[in-house]
Symmetry: D2
Subunit: 351 residues, 4 copies
């Protein structure tokens, strides 16, 4: 077993890590760390558990540690830290020789840090060899923003088949994406908030890196122009995105649908525990809908539907992904599983 720690273990993302790691075949939760306010308390007391499944027995009595490399005897850390502190803390762990699999935004756009979606750009993982933190074994790998991941999973097959020139995206994002306490209920119930700070920028930039090409050890961003309008809607889990794309060669909606249906994930056959059987599924009828499709593949499958010709840009469709699983802790977990499968994580000697 690989012994893992969770940074920011009491927060919303940290709790999802705890839940998804419960019963994991490879990873064992050996340490939980959080802010000074929580450190020293048993997890069950430090944590305002807000998951809809009960707290795993195995972690209830773990003492919450400080987010310091010296305090944690682990082979790898998952970071669910808030961006206000993640940057420095993650660097400290990398410098101490600990692999950091982070969900925070701080290092995503660093040139040598992979912004990884295992089914989309597994080759970008090679970037970790360029990271030099001064300690053997230490590096940082990130997963994209929760609204980015559904988009890139849907765009990747189209980019390979045709070339995506431009994408216009309107998101309808779930409340859980704002963490806890997050959005006040008086702003959420029966309402749409057409503004999410910083989100439109992430959607415009992250896909360019993820869909980019690795050559000579650096990533050349994909030449895709992206415009995003981001909205918060009263949904618990599941980001829905209305996407219109301008593709090279102007294929029809039918051709686009065929490409999406026939796409094969490069992870097929690699048997990573969290990888869904099908990372991308085209649904019929009135889908995709959060209440119907967000749990597909354990929350790791991205669903697409409503594929139609768009008289303005060419083709349009709707994408749905689970923002706290595929778009956060589950995505990071899959990243870690790829790291292990690729031999980049080793069991470290006990302290």
């Amino acid at each position: 077993m690989i012994r893992v720690g969770i940074l920011g273990a009491t927060g919303a993302v940290g709790q999802t890590f705890v839940r998804l790691l419960d019963g994991h075949p490879t990873f064992e939760v050996a340490a939980l760390a959080a802010s000074e306010r929580s450190a020293g308390k048993p997890y069950r007391e430090a944590c305002n558990w807000t998951q809809d499944h009960p707290m795993p027995e195995a972690v209830r009595d773990l003492t919450v540690l400080a987010c310091e490399p010296g305090a944690m005897d682990v082979d790898l850390v998952f970071s669910g830290l808030d961006a206000s502190v993640a940057g420095d803390v993650e660097k400290a762990f990398a410098r101490a020789g600990v692999p950091v699999v982070s969900n925070a935004r701080n290092h995503r756009m660093d040139p040598d840090v992979p912004l990884l979606v295992p089914e989309i750009n597994p080759d970008h993982l090679a970037l970790v060899h360029r990271q030099d933190w001064g300690a053997e074994g230490g590096f940082i790998v990130t997963n994209p923003n929760c609204s980015t991941v559904g988009l890139v999973v849907a765009l990747k097959p189209l980019h390979d088949a045709f070339g995506v020139e431009a994408a216009h995206v309107v998101t309808m994002q779930a409340l859980s994406g704002a963490g806890y306490p997050g959005v006040p209920s008086l702003d959420a119930l029966g309402n749409v908030v057409p503004h999410i700070g910083g989100e439109e920028d992430k959607l415009a930039t992250e896909p360019r890196k993820i869909l980019g090409t690795l050559s000579d050890g650096a990533i050349a961003p994909a030449e895709v122009t992206i415009s995003a309008q981001c909205n918060r809607v009263p949904v618990i889990d599941g980001h829905t995105e209305c996407v219109s794309v301008r593709l090279a060669g102007a294929p029809s909606a039918a051709e686009v649908e065929r490409v999406l249906r026939e796409w094969q994930s490069p992870l097929a056959g690699r048997d990573l525990p969290t990888a869904p059987e099908r990372p991308l599924v085209v649904v019929d009828g009135t889908g995709p809908q959060p209440r119907r499709h967000v749990h597909l593949g354990g929350g790791m499958t991205v669903t697409v539907g409503q594929i139609q010709d768009c008289p303005v840009l060419g083709v349009k469709f709707v994408v749905l992904s689970h923002n706290t699983v595929r778009g956060a802790a589950g995505g990071a977990l899959l990243n870690a599983e790829l790291l292990v499968a690729d031999g980049l994580v080793r069991q470290r000697a006990a302290a």
Copy 2:
């Protein structure tokens, strides 16, 4: 007082007519009509009242009539009929010499029927003189679909100032737009349904007629390419629309905002009771939001916000309008007020 009848008075739109006409300075509800199932009953019994204000005393004891011209002694009818019957019933009233102000979709695209938004295309009202139903005084006037009206109010100033070449629209539409019983709660609560039958077509075609030019007694549609993706979200009242536009001359977001803020309604000074002081308001901050802005101007004001440059199409923004007021009964009521102000409705002799 003008004596009005309401066709489809027990339905969701009909009830909104009843509510908005309560205490109206010009119109007096003289007759309520509905399907055979309701005819003969007092309104309070025939109607499953679902408005959030109580049923006006004045209509509680009115006997519901059949939807036949002979049965109703009125100067004008409002039609909140379902599209499955509206087409023929409305024709019958026009043939009997009764002005019909309809919210139904059936006659909207008829060449001689105005698709009217008083602040946008009041001149289109001249089309009624081309209608020949064989009886003096009878004609049909329609208002657009609930998702169209917010869009055209926002596009009109831009079309006049720059010329709108293309518009991409993603709607997040309220549940009340589907009538009653409408959307099952298990499909609505905590969900997004990315499909509304027929809606995307209406959004693509109706604005072209409304923004079109009347010349030689016919309307030349505006040359605007529109692509729409329509979603149902768990909001009671208020359609929110994310709009991106390609404008001639490629003005900046700042120029677009200035034009929207400075636009003057052609109704200004005409003192129609239902006309809001400002039909179009640009809001700051995190608006427009259904829970904050949908009641502006008694539900007749369209609000716009989030005006930004769009790297794909040029400029983008968010529009909000009240779908059952501005987008249905209130819009029709304003149409009728314009008809009266223009001398097109007269008090008919009692039967």
Copy 3:
């Protein structure tokens, strides 16, 4: 005009005061006060306005003052202060000779402070003459907790007609009762929270004072045993309460319904601007429901329905009241109108 100030003007209750006072025939908002953080700013900037109607023009540019008597030249203050500060601030105003009409809980149970619902215990107002703050004209009047007021309006006719021996109350309370930001959306959407801190105690004690008898200048509490279970439900405005009562003489549900329907408010004929025509209305069918009945009487009418025999306690029914209008700012406003009508507020000389 009576010149009024609002303490805590930027909070949820304060904003409701501002909205309800807009266009009031007797009261003019002359001063807005809030915490030090807001003081000195124009109201439009200091306040995160969350009402569903726009901020009145008249207050947008008022400079927010500190909550100090010397800073405000007014004839009366409304207090929407948080309980953490209300106690001392309200005393300071009373000592300065300013009548305080408070929605805060701090002084509600003080022996000499009326806990006033004008239609229920207007005679309790006489208590103000027993208050001695050392300055002429200064006193404190309070209104009950938002969950108390609906209950006492329904119990009062029964207490007078039969005598209420015991009441069992289960509340389903709206989110707006928790203020802003209040309940996190992840706790509210699609959920019931069966605990509201301190609420059950208020419901058990406040009605005993309100239904109590004034004799020899003191209030003898009503001998009513009350048990409450309080729940938060995903409703914006409107507290629904399931009530079962044991009444002296064990009347039937039919008798109880007759008493409730025939009850006459002692305010009838006094023409207070905020008093609803009927403070208590019995509704038929599937009511009362927040979405159908909460706005009755401008939010000041309490509605009752589902009156049935209860095999355990005798009679049961359901009560609904608007928690931020009747249960907070509207209730306080009505209290102030009664004060003026009774000659207890005078126009003070300008400072």
Copy 4:
């Protein structure tokens, strides 16, 4: 494997049977039956699947049959039929020698039909031997109404320890309890509906049978007076109930809590697949809440919290149960597992 059929397989309860039976160790879905409208179609077409997990592959291509014993070659049927047809159809299967495990209300109060909750009254199963349908092996077993089951699981330990004399129950019931399409969203969103037809009667009568005593082959109902007020709230799954009880001997809340915490299910050690490890769990803090606790034990665990002294009746608490799992299909499934374990179901010869 026991080969089972599902009656009413396309409805909401039927779909939940399909979902819960997917991968069951003992039961194999051999036949799906529904109304004439659906019969003859593949299940994937006949069924508007509304579960939040995808339709199991194994049933997608099954041809839907008519609800007739001759058409189905199975060892047992689950009935998710609507009450309008369940009565006669279930009798027909029993007469044909097929065990019927029904969720419908029709036969629940029949003297010889067990109204079974395996952890509460497993001995009542003996009633099946008194049923005489004229064919060997045929009988009917029912599970209680979705709002009854949580209540009886909480009352049983108290009834055994003290004796329950009276119970007052206020429910806050989930939308899924009304089936599909069920409650219109305009009645559900942001609303409470304080009326559910017939529900209060079921809550007043069913627990008396379930908590009753079997002697001389007949059930003597428990002498418990129950009063219920039933409300629909905007929750997807999970009925919350506020319960106050009068217990013989007037124990304190602390004694009640101890009894509930220490209660042992009579199923312990019997290893039924659907039986939760703990059918009754007392939760701390602000629970039980639908969004936090409804999935405990796979939806089969009933949770209790907020245990307090009640000045009116003695002790009060809050109960939560999953209405479509424990309160419907899951409860029936557990009933069937007990039938198999007790040797009451046999593999029938193929037709």
